[in-house]
Amino acid sequence: MQKILIIEDNPMVVRSLEFKLKKDGYEVVVAEEGRQAMKLLEEQIFDLILTDLMLPFVTGTQIIEHIKKTYPKIPVIVLSTSTQEDIITDAFKMGVDDFITKPFSPSELSLRVKRTLAKQ
């Protein structure tokens, strides 16, 4: 089973992502902030990372930088709000694979996750 790491601090968004992705047949692990995510990345192997950009303690940009440097093969999808165009552009420059706006469309999430994993 493919394993996805969600890095997100809004509990309602987390629960929704978890529900939908588990329903789609993925194993899901959640980190509510960047430091916890970094620890999980050291301990476990993930096939995909979904990350928010505004996180407590470590910013999303720092997380992406760390992932792309340390785990360059893991694809990253950014979870953003519709008003973060500049930040999303920067994230793409750092090598993220895709982005999904919050609250996400369930079918769009399934499609983008499947497509990103298929590219691996």
């Binding site: 309602m12 939908k20 609250p103 369930p106």
Partner: protein, 244 residues
């Protein structure tokens, strides 16, 4: 006007225009959902559907009215009425998708009467809307109607958003405006998942425009809107509020 509640999607960053709109229009007849970007309204229409009228500020960033109309018409075949809010002095704006009437910036009561007339004429697209400050349709759609998931999500909304709103109030009083913005950004999707556009708009304004002491009214409004949702949830889901 027809008895059914009409729905207007109003895309502008002009808080004065929003205030005038909400002052003039009778909330029993017209429900106004505010958005501060074309992308926000596109996302809303894709997820929820068309309204009776869409009003787009001409030069709103990053997608202006013309680009937003192009996207709506081209990608999702939007067929609803559209007005462009503009201070250019023209009465109509031509685009590749057709000619659109202008609602002049600084509009007054007579201009809004024209909006109401437009809504009255637009009888084919009347949508009966729930006047509740929340809707379960997003959560229901996401979970294929899984009641346990919906209930759990409402519980999370009530607890997490309530806590954040209190924190926002405290941080605002302490003058920690950066953290107010961060928290508002964090809870914005929670309001959106319950399709509460007022809560979402206020969060957006607190998160993405400079916050200072002048934003006290918005902080207060956000609290009121959360309490309004909570009140309705109490009526509809009393078990959510039972303590063990």
């Amino acid at each position: 006007m027809n008895g059914a509640l009409k729905h207007i999607l109003f895309v502008t960053t002009d808080s004065d225009a929003v205030a005038v709109f909400n002052t003039y229009l009778n909330p029993n007849e017209v429900r106004v959902s505010n958005f501060t970007s074309g992308m926000g309204v596109i996302q809303y229409i894709k997820q929820i559907g068309e309204a009776d009228l869409l009003i787009l500020e001409e030069h709103i960033k990053p997608l202006g009215a013309v680009q937003t109309i192009h996207y709506l018409k081209d990608s999702i075949n939007y067929s609803g009425e559209i007005l462009i809010l503009s201070d250019s002095g023209v009465s109509e704006i031509q685009t590749d998708e057709g000619t659109f009437e202008v609602l002049k910036k600084g509009f007054d009561k007579s201009d809004l009467d024209r909006v109401l007339n437009l809504l009255s004429e637009n009888k084919e697209q009347i949508v009966e809307l729930d006047s509740k400050p929340y809707s379960l349709s997003y959560l229901s759609n996401l979970s294929d109607g899984d009641e346990a998931f919906i209930y759990e999500s409402l519980k999370i909304f009530n607890e997490s958003v309530g806590q954040c709103v209190t924190e926002i109030e405290n941080l605002f009083q302490q003058g920690n405006y950066k953290e107010v913005s961060n928290l508002a950004h964090n809870i914005k999707p929670s309001f959106e998942m319950l399709e509460n556009s007022l809560g979402s708009t206020i969060c957006d304004q607190l998160a993405h425009s400079p916050v200072d002491s002048s934003k006290a009214e918005q902080v207060e409004l956000l609290k009121k809107e959360y309490l309004k949702v909570q009140e309705y949830l109490k009526q509809d889901f009393p078990d959510l509020f039972k303590t063990i």
